[in-house]
């Protein structure tokens, strides 16, 4: 019974800490209400832009690599959903990391009696991200409607599990990007790399060929993150193995990110006096 109670008290403790952090974030966001709303507008605009991009392309063609217009809309919505969920929970925290290291503020985090990785990962919650994720789900729903698809309960459950796996891949990847580059890259640099990398998640995997496809399927699974859940809903999965592959790669990336985190922490020397 001993380890079991240790786990539950641990969970309860970290749950309480997370709630405190969440409350803190809400208070902070509400201090800048207009800014909060403007960010939602910005994200909505970029989402509309991504959709507009494909609408323009589909005005010149019937299908891209076997994907019809509404199927791609469903794919873009899924990619956006995953990305926004990631933004809500992790993005600012992970990209702030290089700043914490540069200014030496990480010292303070290391001294607190909490797991440091937990703290730096969950410090701030970006509430706008949840709003945008909701918007993305609406687009997914609308696309389903246009395609005449009514997903079963199993499909919906599987869809959300795969999306959450996608969020974790985002998290692990960006953490690796942030810790491995903190000597030279400013936080804006990391955000830039991130947006470029995840840009391709919304494209149909079947359009790609060669080395590019292999790298971004197996090593950096950008072409799986949104494609697999979207294909599950569209009942277009070639085999159940695709879902397994996504989950396995998620695990590998999480382990890798923990490894990178530990190595870089060992190399950390404080910057302030």
């Amino acid at each position: 019974m001993q380890p079991f109670t240790a786990i539950t008290t641990g969970l309860r403790r970290y749950g309480a800490i997370y709630l405190a952090l969440l409350k803190n974030s809400i208070v902070r966001e509400m201090g800048f209400k207009s800014n909060f709303l403007l960010w939602i507008v910005v994200e909505a605009l970029w989402f509309a832009l991504q959709l507009g991009y494909f609408v323009v392309i589909y005005s010149h063609t019937e299908s891209i690599a076997g994907w019809s217009k509404w199927e791609v809309v469903l794919l873009i919505g899924t990619a956006q959903f995953i990305q926004q969920l990631f933004t809500a929970i992790f993005l600012t925290n992970v990209t702030d990391l290089s700043e914490l290291i540069r200014t030496g503020k990480l010292d303070f985090m290391l001294l607190l009696p909490v797991n440091t990785r937990f703290l730096i990962s969950f410090r701030k919650v970006d509430l706008g991200g949840f709003v945008n994720a909701g918007m993305a789900l609406c687009v997914v729903g609308y696309a389903c409607n246009q395609l005449g698809i009514t997903p079963t309960f199993q499909h919906i459950t599987g869809y959300f599990v795969l999306c959450i796996a996608g969020v974790f891949i985002h998290y692990a990847l960006v953490l690796v990007l942030a810790v491995s580059a903190f000597w030279t890259v400013r936080s804006q640099g990391v955000v830039w790399c991130y947006y470029n990398l995840f840009n391709i998640a919304r494209m149909p995997q079947t359009a790609f060929r060669g080395t590019f496809k292999i790298i971004f399927t197996l090593a950096v699974p950008m072409l799986l993150i949104a494609n697999v859940p979207a294909k599950l809903i569209l009942t277009r999965l070639d085999s159940i193995l695709e879902m397994g592959l996504l989950l396995v790669i998620t695990m590998i990336w999480l382990i890798l990110s923990e490894f990178c985190w530990r190595v870089s922490l060992r190399r950390y020397t404080s910057a302030s006096s």
Binding site: N35, L49, T61, I64, V185, N196, R209
Partner: protein, 269 residues
């Protein structure tokens, strides 16, 4: 008089050299969505009959478009100048320019030029390799004069990008947090500037409106000059509108600065 601005360029080069790896990564990661877009177009053309076109673009000229976009973008894009200028205003770093005989706009322009030099040096290898890999699609202009117009439109595009960003950053005199505005502007530049696809594949009515906005002249227009899609009257009209917008945003930048300084209370020191 001119000499002190050369000094600033020198200092700018040294300062931005610190972030050369940052620039290299920017250039490298920028190639990922670009490659993806090329794949996407190949898939689009694969479903069509051999030799068919999309709004006048063959597959080869479409790929060529993106290659030239990469080069023009490296030459003219503003990377972090807008963030730095707004930070200068917010943190009170502009105090010294109010006291010293250095004009802030010219100072920033020098830093922008210096930043482009360093960026080009850092991005040269990845971009060159990328263009080489796709070399079968890379076209060279037929007419020699095209190079002249291309150079002119590139310089104007760079100035336009800079003045727009500078004017935008002036908002920091009035608003604390301007990143949302920068991203909204960036979104319009992205779709209407030709980053995502050639502007002229959009519906004709929309295109006619867009041609009067500054956005296509930030990137799309120089590329279309290079690809010789803008010729004769269209070329002159384009250069004229581009020139107008450069002057307009130069004026706006000056105006915003003088208004802003009047309102400015030096924070920090």
């Amino acid at each position: 008089m001119v000499k002190k601005y050369w000094y600033i360029i020198g200092i700018g080069v040294q300062n931005t050299l610190v972030y050369r790896v940052n620039f290299l990564l920017r250039a490298l990661f920028g190639l990922i969505p670009l490659t993806a877009t090329i794949f996407l177009w190949k898939a689009v053309f694969a479903e069509k009959a051999e030799g068919s076109t999309v709004a006048g673009y063959t597959l080869a000229s479409m790929v060529s478009y993106y290659l030239v976009v990469t080069v023009v973008d490296a030459l003219t894009a503003v990377t972090e100048d807008d963030w730095q200028i707004s930070a200068d205003i917010k943190d009170g770093n502009i105090n010294q320019f109010l006291l010293k005989p250095v004009d802030y706009l010219r100072y920033r322009l020098c830093l922008f030029v210096a930043g482009r030099f360093v960026y080009l040096a850092a991005a040269a290898v990845p971009v060159a390799v990328f263009v080489l890999v796709q070399r079968e699609y890379f076209v060279i202009p037929v007419h020699a004069m095209t190079w002249v117009w291309f150079a002119g439109s590139i310089i104007m595009a760079a100035l336009l990008n800079f003045f727009i960003s500078y004017s935008m950053a002036m908002l920091a005199f009035w608003v604390v947090e301007i990143s949302t505005f920068i991203f909204i502007l960036f979104a319009f530049e992205y779709i209407a500037g030709g980053h995502l696809f050639p502007v002229d594949i959009m519906p004709a009515g929309l295109l006619e409106v867009l041609n009067w906005t500054p956005f296509p002249y930030q990137l799309f227009f120089p590329v279309s000059v290079y690809l010789e899609r803008s010729q004769g009257l269209g070329l002159w009209r384009g250069l004229g509108i581009q020139f107008f917008w450069v002057i307009f945003f130069f004026g706006l930048a000056r105006l915003a600065w003088s208004r802003g300084v009047r309102k400015y209370t030096a924070v920090g020191g």
